[in-house]
Symmetry: C2
């Protein structure tokens, strides 16, 4: 019989998009839906991006270089210098967003059946990338009560097997908002050295750190510079998600040579979007400061609202624009669906992402949701009020 | 020791890009290099593309839908109607060029170790896509003397094993310029039905067919519509290679459901480039007619020049903008390199692609080159004259 691959069967559907039909139905019925379920910011994309694009004037839209436009690579290089990260031009390859950076990295370091350790809850699409590459994600379970910080070195070491190829972290973390401490990164570095494995850092939220906390990159740990892979993206940093521009960077020459072979096979990344992205390096410091202040305000609104809901467990998230909160309910998926189908306050409701999809361990996260604080102050305040009322009404059902 | 994957080792480097350093060196030394080695057309991209992009006016560059912008999907649907192919909206998913369409298709139908039959010589990057997906390409050898048309049904059937998942063709063919006949496609259809496997048609050169020949799509064979996968791209059709916009289409619902899961994992394709691509459906028929006439003229220049070189074997190519020719030399790679390092006519030389990289069978294609006729008339005439003189000089060494 004409059949698809096992990979096709194993490939997970997006756990976030599963509830979309219910949201669409609610909207059809005249209900306003506040989306706290997705990471699409409402912050204006810097005008520089659009100016650059409007000024494109070559008669032929040609292929770009496979490693990416040299000017864009150079703009990333300068950006990293400001972050105290010294990547050379040939240590940066432009990708289709952070997504391609991660999937190519997994393909370069692992073969089908090989394992990668990832703190859970983790960005749900990691499962998809691993499935495409044939790799298996083994979770390092972290807990809401501990602010989703890492467990002990001994515990993490106990998870490592001969076919473990890397530890991958999202820092600041999507979905938890956790910012790993320098001590935690050093510990991961020690493990990577002791077991001779790679460390993949998904650092697309690097600028989104609050309360004056300092961000530490995996590249800031000198001992492990030969085995660190940084996956990056302009999507959140410049509110340019639709550009699909990211990069993968490493000082490991063999790794970069492999990424270059993958990059050559798919020819190049979109020429026009690279042009727009190149101009973004000129974005002023003030832009980031304003954006950061705005998100910190939003974080406070969400966190304070959660604190005031009886039974919610949630440490203060320090980065990114997400938080995972344990709710006083049994089944967050049912709750999220119910909010869309059966609940509203003045014809408005709030959509949240059930957190189980961010866990690899079956059964975990069933009473948790991820909230993305990507709406402006007024909307966020209303959305959190509706959520609080919804939790109360759902519990009293 | 910190090591990469077996896949990283197996991943082929681009055979075309290997000679690039010699071309760069030649240019440094003041030699003009006519590039017949790459498929980057010099035809103007329709102005409609740039107009659409300049008119983008949303304040935030947001994620698009994972399946692609609905307007773009609809524009592909209308385009297919004109080609007598009836794809519905949910049978079309937008991809990063034809490249992503192919790699996702391979991942959907095959698991590591599974095989796909492809007529050789074939587009070299198929090797890369297969390697990334863990699949193995088994060649169906075709010959210059036979215009690279397919061998007998019996022979092709003899290559099929229990883990053969599909037959994939490029039609019109890159690198050979061969346009498969309706009879050949029907034969492949029969094989696909008898062995219950998929048929993947890379039809990105659909419009590039000469001498009034009619193009037949795999979708024009009614019996196999449940198992045909069409991989497509706007790159060549509208001279918009840098847009990286393509699509994968099929009437097989399970297949499309799987592609959608892959598409969701990488979120979406570039928003701005999709906008430009959407406008291209309005490109006038006259554009295609002019472009077609131009390429036919170029094909004639190249083919007639090849006919006049003693010892060259080459049937008239009927489509795409490539030709593979057997030259009266032993080692086309050495010859191509020598043209760049040791030969010039009035400080100009011609760069060609050695064809061995397009074969999977070791040893085949060593005396063949691929020429892309993507230069304007005058340049092409000079380039072919230099090539003829080069072959003579190289043979007399």
């Amino acid at each position: 019989m004409l059949s698809l691959s096992k990979r096709a069967e194993l490939m997970p559907a997006s756990p976030i998009r599963k509830l979309v039909p219910f949201a669409q139905e609610a909207k059809k019925n005249g209900i306003k839906v506040y989306h706290l379920n997705i990471g699409q910011p409402d912050i204006k994309t810097p005008e520089l991006f659009f100016e650059a694009i409007r000024n494109f004037d070559a008669p032929v839209l040609e292929y770009a270089l496979s490693q990416g436009d040299i000017k864009l690579i150079d703009s990333f290089k300068k950006y990293y210098e400001k972050c105290n990260i010294d990547f050379e031009q040939d240590e940066i390859i432009i990708t289709y967003g952070g997504s391609e950076a991660i999937i190519l990295s997994l393909m370069a370091i692992g073969d089908p059946g090989d394992e990668v350790l990832v703190p859970e809850p983790f960005y749900a699409n990691y499962n998809g990338f691993a499935c495409e590459a044939g790799l298996v994600i083994k979770p390092i379970t972290t807990k809401a009560e501990e602010g989703f910080h890492l467990p002990s070195k001994e515990y993490i070491k106990s998870l490592i097997k001969p076919n473990t190829r890397a530890i991958m972290i999202s820092n600041p973390c999507n979905p938890t908002g956790t910012v790993y401490t320098k001590g935690e990164l050093k510990m991961l570095g020690e493990i990577a050295l002791e077991h001779d494995i790679f460390l993949i850092g998904d650092e697309v939220y690097r600028e989104f750190v609050y309360d004056g906390l300092e961000f530490t990159s995996l590249m800031h740990i000198p001992e492990i510079r030969d085995r660190v892979i940084i996956c990056d993206s302009i999507s959140k940093r410049y509110s340019a998600c639709g550009a699909r521009i990211g990069c993968v960077c490493s000082k490991n020459k063999d790794f970069m040579k492999t990424i270059m072979k993958f990059a050559q096979a798919r020819l190049c990344v979109a020429t026009i979007e690279m042009l727009g992205a190149t101009s973004l390096i000129n974005t002023t410091k003030e832009y980031f400061q304003e954006v950061n202040k705005e998100y910190q305000k939003r974080r406070d609104i969400v966190y304070n609202a959660l604190l005031n809901i009886p039974g919610v467990v949630c440490e203060k998230p320090m980065g990114a624009f997400y938080v995972v909160a344990k709710l006083p309910i049994d089944d967050a998926e049912d709750f999220a669906k119910w909010m869309l189908t059966d609940f509203n306050v003045n014809n408005a409701t709030t959509m949240v992402a059930p957190a189980a999809g961010f866990y690899a361990t079956p059964g975990l996260g069933k009473d948790e949701v991820r909230l993305a604080y990507i709406l402006k102050e007024e909307d966020l305040t209303v959305a959190m009020d509706i959520l609080a009322k919804g939790i109360k009404a759902y519990s009293n059902k």
